[in-house]
Symmetry: D2
Subunit: 358 residues, 4 copies
């Protein structure tokens, strides 16, 4: 086996380049997987732009599909050669946070066992998936076998996009018969729409301007797609709900405008489920918040991870309950990842998600 590999490396704000790194050495609890397909996430673009800070020299990417190349000495229950994915978030399962069911905030190694965003390691606190090989920490908790018959692209959305989007619907506690609004229909927003439909929403209003995304939104389950460039989405949603508002509003962009609109369309007692990665302080307008007396809830969700979550998502794919194939609009080799970033960051050519194959 070679000792070097190609990897997409964050050099400085504005620059992610394809470079060379040593293939990782693994510890007793880790696994090494050979990446067969990966992708670029909106968060990677935040990193590229310097809006979300990671160390210089970090390999980016957190959405791995691959094959087990090597297992740490203490890892049991897997064999080399198995096709697997790992979630974007890789909890240890053994921290106080994990043992509280708060896996994404896993603080393994801290004194008290909690760390904000601690479960997100790939391409954040350790090297990531846009490379030929990837070290998966706490492999027993994080390697998820791909069911027979599923292609890489069919499961490529599971590690992050699908888990996060569904998480928005789940944290919002969408119930049978709910009316739901989803703000922004990028990859995560589209999966939030699909999640709201899968959980039994009666009506889903999606807010999006881009034509391709509007079409996909309907495919994913939106009853009405509202173009914010054509109408005021708050007024339109209040009109469509006869002045009542929605039970759950999902924010899937990460801006004050969408956060605030999501709050304004909530019925009293409704839940704003926020998925966006924000880059500035947020404002809660007094009137939209009923002065604090409206029984409103605001919840945030970091992508749920761990092998059981991945198993569930892949089971939904395998049984045809969800099909994320239409989201993969472009394909690149790893060698061309810089072009892929260029396309994706500028949302050119109707791109939704790209598949990257080393």
């Amino acid at each position: 086996m070679a000792t070097k590999m190609k990897a997409a490396i964050f050099i400085e704000p504005g620059r992610i380049v394809l470079g060379e790194k040593p293939i990782p050495d693994i510890g007793p609890l880790d696994a090494l997987i050979r990446i067969t397909t990966t992708t670029i996430c909106g968060t990677d673009v935040h990193i590229l732009k310097g809006e979300y800070p990671v160390d210089r020299g970090r390999t980016v990417g957190h959405e791995p599909v691959g094959v087990i190349e090597k297992l740490g000495s203490a890892v049991q229950g897997f064999t080399e050669g198995q096709r697997v994915i790992a979630g974007a978030i890789t909890p240890s399962g053994q921290s106080n946070a994990s043992l509280s069911g708060c896996w994404a905030q896993c603080g393994a190694g801290t004194r008290h066992g909690w760390k904000a965003i601690g479960g997100w390691r790939f391409g954040n606190s350790i090297d990531g998936a846009q490379a030929e090989y990837l070290l998966v920490p706490d492999a027993m908790a994080n390697l998820a076998l791909i069911p027979e018959g599923l292609t890489d692209e069919q499961v490529l959305m599971c590690p992050d996009i699908l888990s996060t989007g569904f998480g928005g619907a789940e944290s919002g506690h969408v119930r049978l018969g709910d009316t739901v609004a989803v703000f922004a229909q990028g990859p995560i927003g589209l999966c939030a729409t699909a999640g709201a439909r899968l959980m039994g929403a009666a009506r889903i209003f999606a807010v999006e301007h881009v034509a391709e995304r509007q079409a996909l939104s309907r495919e994913m389950g939106a009853n009405e797609v509202i173009d914010f460039a054509a109408v005021d989405p708050v007024a339109e949603i209040m009109r469509l709900t006869d002045g009542r508002g929605v039970d759950v509003a999902i924010e899937a962009l990460g801006t004050q405008a969408t956060f605030e609109a999501a709050l304004r369309v909530l019925r009293p007692g409704g839940t704003l489920s926020s998925l966006g990665v924000y880059s500035s302080d947020l404002k809660i307008p007094l009137d939209a918040f009923a002065a604090g007396l409206g029984d409103h809830k605001i919840v945030t969700t970091l992508c749920p991870g761990g092998k059981e979550r991945m198993r569930r998502l892949m089971d939904l794919v395998a049984n045809g309950r969800i099909d994320t194939a239409p989201l993969v609009t472009h394909r690149f080799g790893l060698d061309d990842i810089e072009s892929a970033y260029d396309l994706f960051a500028h949302q050119r050519n109707g791109v939704i998600k790209v598949a990257i194959t080393p």
Copy 2:
């Protein structure tokens, strides 16, 4: 029976005066109760100051203890002369909101059945309890019999203070062994502290400067009382939790400073349970919110009402699980209610709550 009664009336911002009004006529679903004891709430002070808008001429007050004087023609299950309380919030039980379990946002009479803060009628959308008589709407849902042996003052906190304070702990889902912070130890904050203790918090940090309130706070269950004038409460709570933060932070004042501090002391995945009545927009600082990735929850609670809630609270009082008697620090006749407002609004003489008796 007389046809006129005394009542504390909101005239204009800055003026609540004792005046005279007709004793209310009741409809088929209402009850008329003769007030035996009532009290003044911080929200009434907001009304007095013009910070929370109500119609001029409105009788204020929403914390009634009294005796059934008359029952509407369609009201069953009660008899005149029974001692009762009614919650500050009087849901119809029959609106879409009520039938969703969202009683406080009851929109009886609206097209769709929801109304923000709609359940709060006394002293807000209809005349209130600081009077000799009070019309209780939807009497079958709202009259709660006082258990034998309890005095007016023992149950005087149930309609609002206790229900709201406990609601803060409940909406925060305080669990056995949790660490909780409560910001401000006014009447509601004190009851939130008591609620967190009753629900099984291991440690409760209360933030309060006033000496009398600090002492009561310990009595209600706080392990540590932090004087924000002496130390930075955020730094102190993080120190006391070894950098971890609290599981639940309860905001019981209604200011940006306490809201923000409550957010800053949360552990990842924790819940900010807000009880305050705010009078301006709120800011969520990006760092305290982990850019939206910290699995934080922000929940608000309007005082839970209805006769079953009142029954449960009075059952806790009757069985000695909670004693709110120490909160009643001053007593006035209804004729002296203007003096009572003056004392209460300026928090003079260590006042926590006043008892008003017509």
Copy 3:
């Protein structure tokens, strides 16, 4: 208006006959609706057979679709002539049970406000819907407007079948990616299957022998239909789940055999959601229950009612999320209801549900 009406009356075990009764007088909180379509439920067959006791002379039926004929003097928010349904369960909204969110066990009129099965009044404790006219108690809580454009038959399953079947999935807390088993695919079991699919189950195993029901089951969302006459359903489900069992098992028949099988296919920590109306004691086998150490849950659900529940269900129908039209296999005039009972009770001619029109 006439003073007499036709009604299907329980005479004695074995006999429900079409007879004549006075059109009901209504009180201030009631409504009178003219039935346009109704149906027969499996529970009515239990009544017919004497397996579930009701008073002799009781008009049976609890699934009304109709038009408001008259409103009680205290009823607001509706007008005569509106097309409405009412749920099989008609909570008052104002009892202690209702105000606890336990609407189906509404004990309006009892001392303490709770009554087992108390919310089920139509055709049980008061006269029911298989008649020309129906008194709806607590009309404000129970009349639900039919959305424009929906036919009687499209909403005919909402009052009971759909609400109960969905309730089984809801009480079982079906989550995205769950594996679910549903025992029996009669009308309620079929709706439970549909509910599990709507809530995001990845895999649904339905157990049913009758060919027409097997076909409908697949249409409603079952991935696999298991014929208990051909294979042992417990062994088959354990095989299909690789020995793991299901997350949620829904019992929709009401027998020891299905109850026990549902328990045996549960994974540890899983939930048995029971919908059946039982007619004898049940046995929990020690081994299937892991001696009480398996973190199993057994939950039961009486049909959720009230106008908000009906609104939600009709909204799902109106938006095409669920189509129960295929369940209506036969149609009868009210004059022929005895024939309808004969067909339905003996499950002849592939009957699933019948529509009865006065």
Copy 4:
């Protein structure tokens, strides 16, 4: 260090004897702790009597307090010499069950990741704590540091009794103001009573005959103790609740009689929370179950484990919210453990729990 140690070994039904065994070798994920205090559980008596099967030769006991003697090569975050406890249940944190939050049914090593009662390993599937040394599997998930200032006996109930008893109240979802019945006031029932009180029950009825246990029950929070030898507890509880029944009934013995009584005192919609280890099939009487229409819930709980659970329980002890010291009524050296079994199994001399010190 010696290579042999003393241990209480299950020889055959009727015989647990003190014998000698090798001190365990540990793997990379394990820890070896030197036991300083342990105790005997009712479940051990079941094992002794042959009512719960374990392999012959198994060291029994699952309630360890001790000092870290040695850490596996892959274990981080602990140091030798630290005082620790481990829960009776030792989840891996990394199985599918654990990653679903169903830690007690941890199926580490199985194909699908679930195993009924799989989290209970000590004294069941691996050697237990009634010995000089104990191997703790998945040490990072299971070692919990004892807070400074707490004695062994103060935390001795945390691994099982307190966690299980509290678990009964938690799984029953005891809410502020609930009325709760607890059947049997042995060690677990007493902790269930304490848990119900800590979670905010207004009234707790405990059913117990033994005088010492009745006294302790009141100390732990029972309002009324009902002696089943003097009155019928079902009739008495229905009388005390005015015919309504209780919100939550906790079964803490493991017999048909208590299970059935717990069901019979439930209000409609109430929860039977079962903690008992049963040794025969259970019967659900049709009437007590309202034919399946009473919205009843039956839930079971295996002792919650893992280091975070232990941390929370010890935090409650450290802050004086619970004091289990009165439960330790007798003390023995490990050498005398056979006498301890004799005393405990026959409930002689008012024994509640014994402390065993090697």
